[in-house]
Amino acid sequence: MVKSFFGIITLLLSVQLSAQGIPLAQPRFDCKGVFFQTETEVGLEFDMDGAKVFYTINGSKPKLYKRPFKINKTSRLYAFASHPDFGRGDTASLTLQKVKLKPVSLNLKTNPNPEYKAMGANSLIDFEAGGNDLHDGKWVGFLSDSVVLEAVFPEKTPLNTVTVSVLNNPGAWVLPMRKISVYTAVEEGGNWLAAGSWMPEVGRGASSQIRWFPEVQVKRRVTRVKLVIDSFGPLPSGHPGAGNPAWLFLDEILFN
Protein backbone atom coordinates (compact mmCIF):
# COMPACT_ATOMS: atom_id res chain seq x y z
CA MET A 1 0.00 0.00 0.00
CA VAL A 2 2.82 2.43 0.96
CA LYS A 3 4.83 1.55 -2.18
CA SER A 4 1.88 2.08 -4.52
CA PHE A 5 1.08 5.40 -2.80
CA PHE A 6 4.63 6.66 -3.44
CA GLY A 7 4.42 5.32 -6.97
CA ILE A 8 1.35 7.47 -7.71
CA ILE A 9 3.05 10.53 -6.23
CA THR A 10 6.16 9.85 -8.36
CA LEU A 11 4.11 9.70 -11.55
CA LEU A 12 2.03 12.79 -10.86
CA LEU A 13 4.93 14.97 -9.67
CA SER A 14 7.26 13.95 -12.49
CA VAL A 15 4.56 15.03 -14.95
CA GLN A 16 4.28 18.36 -13.15
CA LEU A 17 8.02 18.94 -12.62
CA SER A 18 9.05 18.11 -16.16
CA ALA A 19 7.06 21.11 -17.39
CA GLN A 20 8.85 23.56 -15.09
CA GLY A 21 12.03 25.49 -15.97
CA ILE A 22 14.07 27.95 -13.96
CA PRO A 23 12.61 31.45 -14.17
CA LEU A 24 14.72 34.53 -14.63
CA ALA A 25 14.85 37.14 -11.89
CA GLN A 26 13.55 40.65 -12.40
CA PRO A 27 15.73 43.19 -14.18
CA ARG A 28 16.91 46.06 -12.01
CA PHE A 29 15.78 49.61 -12.51
CA ASP A 30 18.46 52.24 -12.15
CA CYS A 31 16.85 55.58 -11.44
CA LYS A 32 18.27 58.22 -9.13
CA GLY A 33 15.15 60.38 -9.24
CA VAL A 34 12.04 58.33 -8.53
CA PHE A 35 10.53 61.59 -7.33
CA PHE A 36 11.34 64.40 -9.76
CA GLN A 37 10.20 67.89 -10.69
CA THR A 38 10.85 68.16 -14.45
CA GLU A 39 12.30 64.93 -15.80
CA THR A 40 14.27 61.91 -14.71
CA GLU A 41 16.38 59.25 -16.40
CA VAL A 42 15.75 55.53 -16.13
CA GLY A 43 18.14 52.71 -16.87
CA LEU A 44 17.68 48.95 -16.73
CA GLU A 45 20.24 46.33 -15.83
CA PHE A 46 20.29 42.58 -16.28
CA ASP A 47 23.82 41.39 -16.94
CA MET A 48 23.42 37.90 -18.39
CA ASP A 49 24.83 36.69 -21.69
CA GLY A 50 22.10 36.12 -24.22
CA ALA A 51 19.37 37.89 -22.26
CA LYS A 52 17.27 40.77 -23.52
CA VAL A 53 15.28 43.22 -21.45
CA PHE A 54 11.92 44.65 -22.42
CA TYR A 55 10.00 47.48 -20.79
CA THR A 56 6.65 49.21 -20.97
CA ILE A 57 5.63 52.73 -19.97
CA ASN A 58 2.07 53.24 -18.78
CA GLY A 59 0.82 50.16 -20.60
CA SER A 60 2.67 50.66 -23.88
CA LYS A 61 3.75 47.75 -26.06
CA PRO A 62 6.96 46.18 -24.75
CA LYS A 63 10.08 47.86 -26.11
CA LEU A 64 13.52 46.32 -26.32
CA TYR A 65 15.81 48.11 -23.88
CA LYS A 66 18.94 49.53 -25.46
CA ARG A 67 19.91 52.56 -23.40
CA PRO A 68 18.62 54.81 -20.56
CA PHE A 69 15.57 56.89 -21.37
CA LYS A 70 13.92 59.99 -19.94
CA ILE A 71 10.54 60.32 -18.30
CA ASN A 72 8.80 63.66 -17.77
CA LYS A 73 5.49 62.75 -16.20
CA THR A 74 4.19 60.45 -13.49
CA SER A 75 4.54 56.98 -14.95
CA ARG A 76 4.29 53.32 -14.17
CA LEU A 77 7.04 51.21 -15.70
CA TYR A 78 7.29 47.45 -16.06
CA ALA A 79 10.27 45.43 -17.25
CA PHE A 80 11.20 41.81 -17.71
CA ALA A 81 14.12 39.79 -19.05
CA SER A 82 13.99 37.07 -21.61
CA HIS A 83 16.52 34.39 -22.58
CA PRO A 84 16.27 31.57 -25.14
CA ASP A 85 17.18 28.94 -22.54
CA PHE A 86 15.08 30.26 -19.67
CA GLY A 87 12.09 31.96 -21.26
CA ARG A 88 10.57 35.14 -19.90
CA GLY A 89 11.40 36.17 -16.36
CA ASP A 90 9.62 37.87 -13.51
CA THR A 91 8.32 41.39 -14.05
CA ALA A 92 9.79 44.36 -12.20
CA SER A 93 7.79 47.51 -11.71
CA LEU A 94 8.66 51.08 -10.86
CA THR A 95 6.46 54.09 -10.26
CA LEU A 96 7.97 57.46 -11.02
CA GLN A 97 6.27 60.42 -9.44
CA LYS A 98 6.43 63.91 -10.84
CA VAL A 99 6.26 66.50 -8.08
CA LYS A 100 5.29 70.03 -9.05
CA LEU A 101 5.26 71.66 -5.65
CA LYS A 102 7.61 71.75 -2.71
CA PRO A 103 6.35 73.30 0.54
CA VAL A 104 8.20 76.13 2.21
CA SER A 105 8.33 73.90 5.24
CA LEU A 106 6.98 70.62 6.53
CA ASN A 107 6.53 70.05 10.25
CA LEU A 108 6.18 66.69 11.92
CA LYS A 109 3.70 67.05 14.76
CA THR A 110 4.23 63.39 15.65
CA ASN A 111 7.67 62.17 16.68
CA PRO A 112 9.03 59.28 14.65
CA ASN A 113 10.50 56.28 16.39
CA PRO A 114 14.06 57.26 17.46
CA GLU A 115 15.57 54.36 15.52
CA TYR A 116 13.99 55.49 12.26
CA LYS A 117 13.90 59.27 12.45
CA ALA A 118 16.16 59.85 9.38
CA MET A 119 16.31 63.64 8.88
CA GLY A 120 12.84 64.09 10.26
CA ALA A 121 10.36 66.07 8.20
CA ASN A 122 13.07 67.02 5.69
CA SER A 123 13.36 63.40 4.65
CA LEU A 124 9.76 63.57 3.46
CA ILE A 125 10.31 66.42 1.00
CA ASP A 126 13.83 65.71 -0.25
CA PHE A 127 12.86 63.79 -3.40
CA GLU A 128 14.88 60.81 -2.14
CA ALA A 129 13.24 57.40 -2.24
CA GLY A 130 13.86 54.89 0.53
CA GLY A 131 15.57 51.63 -0.39
CA ASN A 132 15.50 48.09 0.93
CA ASP A 133 17.27 49.03 4.12
CA LEU A 134 14.95 50.74 6.60
CA HIS A 135 18.02 52.25 8.26
CA ASP A 136 19.16 54.02 5.08
CA GLY A 137 18.20 57.41 6.45
CA LYS A 138 15.46 57.95 3.89
CA TRP A 139 12.62 56.17 5.60
CA VAL A 140 10.86 57.77 8.55
CA GLY A 141 9.28 55.14 10.77
CA PHE A 142 6.47 55.56 13.24
CA LEU A 143 4.96 53.32 15.90
CA SER A 144 2.03 55.48 16.89
CA ASP A 145 -1.71 55.44 16.35
CA SER A 146 -1.57 58.38 14.01
CA VAL A 147 0.91 60.73 12.37
CA VAL A 148 0.19 64.42 11.90
CA LEU A 149 2.14 66.67 9.52
CA GLU A 150 1.67 70.30 8.55
CA ALA A 151 3.02 71.87 5.37
CA VAL A 152 3.31 75.57 4.63
CA PHE A 153 3.09 77.00 1.10
CA PRO A 154 3.30 80.48 -0.40
CA GLU A 155 -0.05 82.17 0.08
CA LYS A 156 -2.94 80.62 -1.82
CA THR A 157 -0.93 78.09 -3.81
CA PRO A 158 -3.11 75.95 -6.12
CA LEU A 159 -2.93 72.37 -4.85
CA ASN A 160 -4.53 69.51 -6.76
CA THR A 161 -3.36 66.37 -4.96
CA VAL A 162 -1.40 65.13 -2.00
CA THR A 163 0.29 61.75 -2.41
CA VAL A 164 2.04 59.79 0.31
CA SER A 165 4.83 57.31 -0.50
CA VAL A 166 4.44 54.52 2.06
CA LEU A 167 6.05 51.12 2.57
CA ASN A 168 4.18 47.83 2.48
CA ASN A 169 6.27 45.02 3.99
CA PRO A 170 4.10 42.73 6.13
CA GLY A 171 7.03 40.41 6.84
CA ALA A 172 8.78 43.29 8.61
CA TRP A 173 5.57 44.23 10.45
CA VAL A 174 5.24 47.32 8.25
CA LEU A 175 1.83 48.08 6.76
CA PRO A 176 0.33 51.08 4.98
CA MET A 177 -2.05 53.38 6.79
CA ARG A 178 -5.75 52.82 7.39
CA LYS A 179 -6.69 56.34 6.39
CA ILE A 180 -5.31 59.69 5.30
CA SER A 181 -7.29 62.82 6.03
CA VAL A 182 -6.24 66.12 4.47
CA TYR A 183 -7.18 69.54 5.79
CA THR A 184 -6.32 72.90 4.32
CA ALA A 185 -6.26 76.50 5.45
CA VAL A 186 -6.26 79.36 2.98
CA GLU A 187 -4.34 81.66 5.22
CA GLU A 188 -2.03 81.68 8.21
CA GLY A 189 -4.09 81.30 11.37
CA GLY A 190 -7.17 80.32 9.37
CA ASN A 191 -9.49 77.47 10.25
CA TRP A 192 -8.78 74.00 8.99
CA LEU A 193 -11.26 72.76 6.41
CA ALA A 194 -11.55 69.10 5.46
CA ALA A 195 -10.35 68.63 1.88
CA GLY A 196 -10.54 64.92 1.28
CA SER A 197 -9.47 61.54 2.49
CA TRP A 198 -8.16 58.20 1.33
CA MET A 199 -8.77 54.68 2.51
CA PRO A 200 -7.60 51.41 0.93
CA GLU A 201 -9.89 50.17 -1.81
CA VAL A 202 -10.00 46.55 -0.72
CA GLY A 203 -10.81 46.52 2.97
CA ARG A 204 -7.75 46.70 5.23
CA GLY A 205 -5.72 43.99 3.58
CA ALA A 206 -2.35 44.83 2.03
CA SER A 207 -1.68 44.12 -1.65
CA SER A 208 1.57 42.63 -2.85
CA GLN A 209 3.05 45.97 -3.97
CA ILE A 210 6.03 47.04 -1.91
CA ARG A 211 5.40 50.76 -2.14
CA TRP A 212 2.01 52.39 -2.16
CA PHE A 213 1.11 55.90 -3.33
CA PRO A 214 -2.26 56.74 -1.80
CA GLU A 215 -3.51 60.01 -3.22
CA VAL A 216 -6.01 62.54 -1.94
CA GLN A 217 -7.68 65.04 -4.24
CA VAL A 218 -7.60 68.61 -2.87
CA LYS A 219 -8.22 71.06 -5.74
CA ARG A 220 -7.92 74.18 -3.61
CA ARG A 221 -5.76 77.18 -3.06
CA VAL A 222 -3.86 76.63 0.15
CA THR A 223 -1.41 78.28 2.47
CA ARG A 224 -1.28 75.43 4.95
CA VAL A 225 -1.99 71.74 4.58
CA LYS A 226 -2.46 69.25 7.40
CA LEU A 227 -2.30 65.49 6.97
CA VAL A 228 -3.65 63.16 9.62
CA ILE A 229 -2.48 59.64 8.84
CA ASP A 230 -4.09 56.85 10.83
CA SER A 231 -1.77 53.87 11.20
CA PHE A 232 -2.90 50.37 10.36
CA GLY A 233 -3.26 49.42 14.00
CA PRO A 234 -2.80 45.91 15.41
CA LEU A 235 -1.36 43.36 13.04
CA PRO A 236 -4.15 41.05 11.88
CA SER A 237 -4.77 37.53 13.09
CA GLY A 238 -2.66 35.04 11.22
CA HIS A 239 0.32 37.36 11.15
CA PRO A 240 3.28 36.20 13.30
CA GLY A 241 3.00 39.44 15.26
CA ALA A 242 -0.79 39.44 15.50
CA GLY A 243 -2.03 41.96 18.06
CA ASN A 244 1.16 44.03 18.02
CA PRO A 245 0.96 47.46 16.38
CA ALA A 246 2.05 47.63 12.75
CA TRP A 247 4.81 50.07 11.85
CA LEU A 248 4.21 52.95 9.47
CA PHE A 249 7.10 53.93 7.20
CA LEU A 250 6.99 56.97 4.92
CA ASP A 251 9.67 58.28 2.62
CA GLU A 252 8.01 61.17 0.79
CA ILE A 253 4.97 63.42 0.77
CA LEU A 254 4.24 64.65 -2.74
CA PHE A 255 2.33 67.82 -3.48
CA ASN A 256 1.03 68.50 -6.98
Binding site: I9, L12, L17, G21, I22, M48, A81, F86, D90, N132
Partner: protein, 335 residues
Amino acid sequence: MERRSFIKQSTLATAGLCLGATDEPGLIGHGNFKYRLNRNWCKGSALQFPVNNCHELVMSRSGKIFMTTDDVRNNILIFDKDGQITGAWGKEYPGAHGLTLHDENGDEFLYISDYERHQVIKTTLEGKVIQTFEWPADGGFYRSQQAFKPTETAIAPNGDVLVADGYGKDYVVHYDHKGNLINVFGGPDILKNAHGIAFDNRDKANPSWLVTSRAENKLKRFDLTGKLIEIIHLPGAYICRPVVTGEHVYFAVLISELPWDSQTGFVCILDKNNRVVSAPGARTPRYDSGGALKPLYQTVKAFKHPHDVLVDANGDIYVSQWNSGRVYPYRLEPQ
Protein backbone atom coordinates in the same frame (compact mmCIF):
# COMPACT_ATOMS: atom_id res chain seq x y z
CA MET B 1 -11.37 13.76 -5.32
CA GLU B 2 -10.80 15.82 -8.45
CA ARG B 3 -7.40 15.05 -10.07
CA ARG B 4 -6.23 18.69 -10.08
CA SER B 5 -7.11 19.07 -6.41
CA PHE B 6 -5.33 15.81 -5.66
CA ILE B 7 -2.15 16.97 -7.45
CA LYS B 8 -2.16 20.30 -5.61
CA GLN B 9 -2.68 18.67 -2.22
CA SER B 10 -0.10 16.01 -2.93
CA THR B 11 2.43 18.65 -3.95
CA LEU B 12 1.84 20.61 -0.74
CA ALA B 13 2.00 17.50 1.41
CA THR B 14 5.26 16.26 -0.02
CA ALA B 15 7.44 19.37 -0.07
CA GLY B 16 10.98 18.00 -0.06
CA LEU B 17 10.01 15.03 -2.17
CA CYS B 18 12.18 14.97 -5.27
CA LEU B 19 11.47 12.27 -7.79
CA GLY B 20 12.66 11.64 -11.28
CA ALA B 21 15.19 13.55 -13.39
CA THR B 22 14.28 16.88 -14.92
CA ASP B 23 16.32 18.43 -17.69
CA GLU B 24 16.95 22.10 -17.06
CA PRO B 25 17.65 23.65 -20.47
CA GLY B 26 19.88 26.50 -19.39
CA LEU B 27 23.33 26.52 -17.88
CA ILE B 28 24.20 28.85 -15.04
CA GLY B 29 27.59 30.13 -14.03
CA HIS B 30 30.40 31.75 -15.95
CA GLY B 31 33.74 31.11 -17.62
CA ASN B 32 35.08 27.65 -16.89
CA PHE B 33 32.53 27.14 -14.14
CA LYS B 34 29.18 26.55 -15.80
CA TYR B 35 26.65 24.14 -14.44
CA ARG B 36 23.35 22.48 -15.09
CA LEU B 37 21.05 22.64 -12.12
CA ASN B 38 19.66 19.35 -10.90
CA ARG B 39 16.85 20.08 -8.47
CA ASN B 40 15.88 16.44 -8.29
CA TRP B 41 19.22 14.97 -7.26
CA CYS B 42 17.78 13.88 -3.94
CA LYS B 43 15.65 10.74 -3.93
CA GLY B 44 14.51 11.09 -0.34
CA SER B 45 11.02 11.30 1.07
CA ALA B 46 10.05 14.10 3.43
CA LEU B 47 7.58 11.74 5.05
CA GLN B 48 10.43 9.52 6.16
CA PHE B 49 13.22 12.10 6.53
CA PRO B 50 11.65 15.50 7.21
CA VAL B 51 13.69 18.66 6.95
CA ASN B 52 13.13 22.24 8.01
CA ASN B 53 16.03 24.51 7.14
CA CYS B 54 18.92 22.64 5.51
CA HIS B 55 22.03 24.26 6.84
CA GLU B 56 25.38 22.69 6.04
CA LEU B 57 27.02 19.87 4.15
CA VAL B 58 30.24 17.89 4.47
CA MET B 59 31.56 14.72 2.80
CA SER B 60 33.37 11.87 4.46
CA ARG B 61 36.31 9.99 3.02
CA SER B 62 33.96 7.21 1.90
CA GLY B 63 31.85 9.67 -0.08
CA LYS B 64 28.92 9.97 2.31
CA ILE B 65 27.33 13.40 2.50
CA PHE B 66 26.28 14.63 5.94
CA MET B 67 23.84 17.51 6.35
CA THR B 68 22.50 19.47 9.32
CA THR B 69 18.84 20.38 9.53
CA ASP B 70 17.05 21.95 12.47
CA ASP B 71 14.25 19.38 12.30
CA VAL B 72 14.78 17.49 15.57
CA ARG B 73 13.26 14.34 14.18
CA ASN B 74 16.56 13.86 12.38
CA ASN B 75 19.11 16.63 12.74
CA ILE B 76 21.71 14.83 10.64
CA LEU B 77 20.85 13.27 7.30
CA ILE B 78 23.29 11.10 5.37
CA PHE B 79 23.14 10.91 1.59
CA ASP B 80 25.04 8.90 -0.95
CA LYS B 81 26.19 10.59 -4.16
CA ASP B 82 23.16 9.31 -6.00
CA GLY B 83 20.92 11.27 -3.68
CA GLN B 84 19.60 8.36 -1.65
CA ILE B 85 19.22 9.04 2.06
CA THR B 86 21.09 6.19 3.67
CA GLY B 87 20.89 7.19 7.31
CA ALA B 88 19.74 9.73 9.85
CA TRP B 89 20.39 10.54 13.48
CA GLY B 90 20.18 13.31 16.04
CA LYS B 91 17.15 14.49 17.95
CA GLU B 92 18.91 16.74 20.43
CA TYR B 93 20.19 19.54 18.20
CA PRO B 94 17.39 22.13 17.89
CA GLY B 95 19.80 24.73 16.52
CA ALA B 96 21.85 22.37 14.35
CA HIS B 97 23.61 24.80 12.04
CA GLY B 98 27.34 24.59 11.34
CA LEU B 99 28.91 21.31 10.28
CA THR B 100 32.58 20.60 9.88
CA LEU B 101 34.29 17.27 9.25
CA HIS B 102 37.82 16.71 10.47
CA ASP B 103 40.13 13.80 9.86
CA GLU B 104 41.99 13.19 13.08
CA ASN B 105 44.79 10.76 12.35
CA GLY B 106 42.57 8.62 10.20
CA ASP B 107 39.41 8.90 12.30
CA GLU B 108 36.72 11.28 11.09
CA PHE B 109 34.68 13.46 13.40
CA LEU B 110 31.88 15.96 12.98
CA TYR B 111 31.68 19.31 14.71
CA ILE B 112 28.08 20.53 15.01
CA SER B 113 27.52 24.20 15.85
CA ASP B 114 24.21 24.52 17.66
CA TYR B 115 23.19 28.11 18.37
CA GLU B 116 20.23 27.07 20.50
CA ARG B 117 22.31 24.82 22.71
CA HIS B 118 25.05 27.51 22.72
CA GLN B 119 27.63 24.80 22.13
CA VAL B 120 29.74 23.06 19.60
CA ILE B 121 29.41 19.30 19.81
CA LYS B 122 32.03 16.90 18.46
CA THR B 123 30.63 13.53 17.40
CA THR B 124 31.59 10.44 15.49
CA LEU B 125 30.03 9.96 12.06
CA GLU B 126 27.50 7.71 13.77
CA GLY B 127 26.46 10.42 16.21
CA LYS B 128 28.25 9.42 19.39
CA VAL B 129 29.13 12.54 21.36
CA ILE B 130 32.83 12.82 22.03
CA GLN B 131 33.22 16.33 23.40
CA THR B 132 31.49 19.68 23.77
CA PHE B 133 32.97 23.16 23.45
CA GLU B 134 31.34 25.60 25.84
CA TRP B 135 30.91 29.35 25.89
CA PRO B 136 34.04 31.34 26.76
CA ALA B 137 33.38 32.42 30.33
CA ASP B 138 36.88 33.91 30.77
CA GLY B 139 38.12 37.17 29.38
CA GLY B 140 35.01 39.26 29.81
CA PHE B 141 33.70 38.72 26.31
CA TYR B 142 30.51 36.95 27.38
CA ARG B 143 28.40 37.27 30.50
CA SER B 144 26.25 34.24 29.94
CA GLN B 145 25.93 31.09 27.92
CA GLN B 146 22.87 32.48 26.15
CA ALA B 147 24.93 35.20 24.48
CA PHE B 148 27.05 32.58 22.71
CA LYS B 149 25.31 31.38 19.52
CA PRO B 150 27.88 29.59 17.42
CA THR B 151 27.22 29.13 13.73
CA GLU B 152 30.40 27.52 12.39
CA THR B 153 33.70 25.89 13.20
CA ALA B 154 37.01 25.40 11.47
CA ILE B 155 39.73 23.04 12.59
CA ALA B 156 43.41 23.93 12.44
CA PRO B 157 45.98 21.36 11.30
CA ASN B 158 47.07 20.95 14.92
CA GLY B 159 43.51 20.20 16.02
CA ASP B 160 42.71 23.60 17.47
CA VAL B 161 39.05 24.49 17.06
CA LEU B 162 37.88 27.91 15.97
CA VAL B 163 34.27 28.79 16.51
CA ALA B 164 32.47 31.64 14.75
CA ASP B 165 29.76 33.11 16.97
CA GLY B 166 27.69 34.35 14.07
CA TYR B 167 24.35 34.73 15.83
CA GLY B 168 25.71 35.99 19.11
CA LYS B 169 28.48 38.54 19.54
CA ASP B 170 30.46 38.00 16.31
CA TYR B 171 33.61 36.84 18.04
CA VAL B 172 35.82 34.05 16.77
CA VAL B 173 36.69 31.85 19.73
CA HIS B 174 39.88 29.82 19.51
CA TYR B 175 40.15 26.64 21.61
CA ASP B 176 42.81 23.98 21.69
CA HIS B 177 41.69 20.43 20.91
CA LYS B 178 40.93 19.83 24.58
CA GLY B 179 38.58 22.80 24.72
CA ASN B 180 40.90 25.19 26.58
CA LEU B 181 40.40 28.80 25.56
CA ILE B 182 43.37 30.13 23.59
CA ASN B 183 42.17 33.40 22.08
CA VAL B 184 39.13 35.48 21.20
CA PHE B 185 39.23 37.82 18.24
CA GLY B 186 36.97 39.60 15.79
CA GLY B 187 33.90 40.82 17.61
CA PRO B 188 31.15 43.33 16.81
CA ASP B 189 33.53 46.16 15.90
CA ILE B 190 35.17 44.08 13.17
CA LEU B 191 32.58 41.51 12.11
CA LYS B 192 28.90 41.91 11.36
CA ASN B 193 27.19 38.50 11.44
CA ALA B 194 30.31 36.29 11.60
CA HIS B 195 28.41 33.44 10.04
CA GLY B 196 31.19 31.22 8.69
CA ILE B 197 34.87 30.43 8.99
CA ALA B 198 37.37 28.34 7.06
CA PHE B 199 41.06 27.55 7.26
CA ASP B 200 42.76 28.92 4.14
CA ASN B 201 46.04 27.21 3.37
CA ARG B 202 46.27 28.16 -0.31
CA ASP B 203 49.25 30.34 0.54
CA LYS B 204 51.29 27.65 2.31
CA ALA B 205 53.68 30.19 3.77
CA ASN B 206 50.86 32.26 5.27
CA PRO B 207 47.95 30.14 6.40
CA SER B 208 45.02 32.13 7.68
CA TRP B 209 41.38 32.12 8.74
CA LEU B 210 38.72 33.33 6.32
CA VAL B 211 35.74 34.64 8.25
CA THR B 212 32.40 35.80 6.87
CA SER B 213 31.12 39.24 7.77
CA ARG B 214 27.83 38.49 6.13
CA ALA B 215 25.91 41.69 6.80
CA GLU B 216 28.78 43.65 5.24
CA ASN B 217 29.05 41.37 2.17
CA LYS B 218 32.69 40.76 3.06
CA LEU B 219 35.15 38.00 3.75
CA LYS B 220 37.77 38.99 6.30
CA ARG B 221 41.10 37.27 6.61
CA PHE B 222 42.83 36.88 9.95
CA ASP B 223 46.29 35.53 10.59
CA LEU B 224 46.72 32.66 13.03
CA THR B 225 47.09 35.11 15.92
CA GLY B 226 43.71 36.68 15.14
CA LYS B 227 45.01 39.84 13.51
CA LEU B 228 42.94 41.21 10.62
CA ILE B 229 45.07 41.20 7.48
CA GLU B 230 42.74 41.43 4.49
CA ILE B 231 39.19 42.38 3.56
CA ILE B 232 37.57 40.96 0.43
CA HIS B 233 34.54 43.04 -0.45
CA LEU B 234 31.88 41.24 -2.46
CA PRO B 235 28.97 43.68 -2.80
CA GLY B 236 25.64 42.02 -3.29
CA ALA B 237 26.83 38.79 -1.66
CA TYR B 238 25.51 37.92 1.80
CA ILE B 239 28.02 35.11 2.19
CA CYS B 240 27.26 32.13 4.39
CA ARG B 241 30.58 30.32 4.79
CA PRO B 242 33.68 30.04 2.63
CA VAL B 243 34.59 26.55 1.44
CA VAL B 244 38.20 26.33 0.32
CA THR B 245 38.62 23.69 -2.38
CA GLY B 246 41.94 23.51 -4.18
CA GLU B 247 42.85 26.96 -5.41
CA HIS B 248 39.28 28.23 -5.22
CA VAL B 249 36.83 29.41 -2.61
CA TYR B 250 33.21 28.45 -3.06
CA PHE B 251 30.31 29.79 -1.05
CA ALA B 252 26.57 30.05 -0.88
CA VAL B 253 25.16 33.56 -1.01
CA LEU B 254 22.02 33.59 1.09
CA ILE B 255 20.62 36.75 -0.52
CA SER B 256 21.89 39.57 -2.69
CA GLU B 257 19.64 42.21 -1.17
CA LEU B 258 17.59 42.79 1.95
CA PRO B 259 15.21 41.76 3.36
CA TRP B 260 16.62 38.50 4.65
CA ASP B 261 13.84 36.50 2.99
CA SER B 262 14.17 38.15 -0.41
CA GLN B 263 14.81 34.82 -2.20
CA THR B 264 17.69 36.36 -4.15
CA GLY B 265 20.45 33.87 -3.42
CA PHE B 266 23.05 32.28 -5.66
CA VAL B 267 26.42 30.50 -5.52
CA CYS B 268 29.82 32.13 -5.94
CA ILE B 269 33.32 30.96 -6.81
CA LEU B 270 36.57 32.86 -6.24
CA ASP B 271 39.90 32.10 -7.86
CA LYS B 272 43.26 31.96 -6.12
CA ASN B 273 43.43 35.75 -6.21
CA ASN B 274 40.00 35.95 -4.57
CA ARG B 275 38.36 37.36 -7.65
CA VAL B 276 34.91 36.13 -8.63
CA VAL B 277 35.21 33.81 -11.61
CA SER B 278 31.68 32.45 -11.58
CA ALA B 279 28.41 33.21 -9.85
CA PRO B 280 25.87 30.50 -10.76
CA GLY B 281 22.46 32.14 -10.55
CA ALA B 282 23.83 35.69 -10.62
CA ARG B 283 25.02 38.32 -13.07
CA THR B 284 28.24 38.08 -15.01
CA PRO B 285 31.05 38.97 -12.57
CA ARG B 286 32.77 42.21 -13.58
CA TYR B 287 35.35 44.48 -12.02
CA ASP B 288 35.65 48.22 -12.63
CA SER B 289 38.81 50.01 -13.63
CA GLY B 290 39.73 50.44 -9.99
CA GLY B 291 39.54 46.74 -9.34
CA ALA B 292 36.28 46.84 -7.40
CA LEU B 293 33.70 44.15 -8.01
CA LYS B 294 30.47 45.48 -9.52
CA PRO B 295 27.58 44.57 -7.24
CA LEU B 296 26.34 41.05 -7.71
CA TYR B 297 22.65 40.28 -8.05
CA GLN B 298 20.51 37.31 -8.90
CA THR B 299 19.63 36.79 -12.56
CA VAL B 300 18.37 33.22 -12.57
CA LYS B 301 16.06 32.03 -9.80
CA ALA B 302 17.86 28.73 -9.42
CA PHE B 303 17.85 29.12 -5.64
CA LYS B 304 15.94 31.00 -2.97
CA HIS B 305 18.28 31.09 0.04
CA PRO B 306 21.32 28.87 -0.48
CA HIS B 307 23.07 28.27 2.83
CA ASP B 308 26.05 26.05 2.09
CA VAL B 309 27.94 24.35 -0.71
CA LEU B 310 29.85 21.11 -0.85
CA VAL B 311 32.19 20.45 -3.76
CA ASP B 312 33.12 16.89 -4.62
CA ALA B 313 36.06 15.52 -6.58
CA ASN B 314 34.07 15.69 -9.83
CA GLY B 315 33.36 19.37 -9.34
CA ASP B 316 29.70 18.77 -8.54
CA ILE B 317 28.38 21.34 -6.09
CA TYR B 318 25.73 20.31 -3.60
CA VAL B 319 23.68 23.25 -2.33
CA SER B 320 21.60 23.22 0.86
CA GLN B 321 19.03 25.96 1.45
CA TRP B 322 17.49 27.85 4.32
CA ASN B 323 13.83 28.91 4.34
CA SER B 324 13.22 27.58 0.85
CA GLY B 325 10.16 25.41 1.17
CA ARG B 326 11.93 22.59 3.02
CA VAL B 327 13.70 21.41 -0.10
CA TYR B 328 16.48 18.86 -0.02
CA PRO B 329 19.85 19.92 -1.45
CA TYR B 330 20.18 20.61 -5.14
CA ARG B 331 23.22 19.66 -7.19
CA LEU B 332 25.06 21.80 -9.73
CA GLU B 333 26.65 19.54 -12.36
CA PRO B 334 29.61 20.98 -14.29
CA GLN B 335 29.25 21.17 -18.06
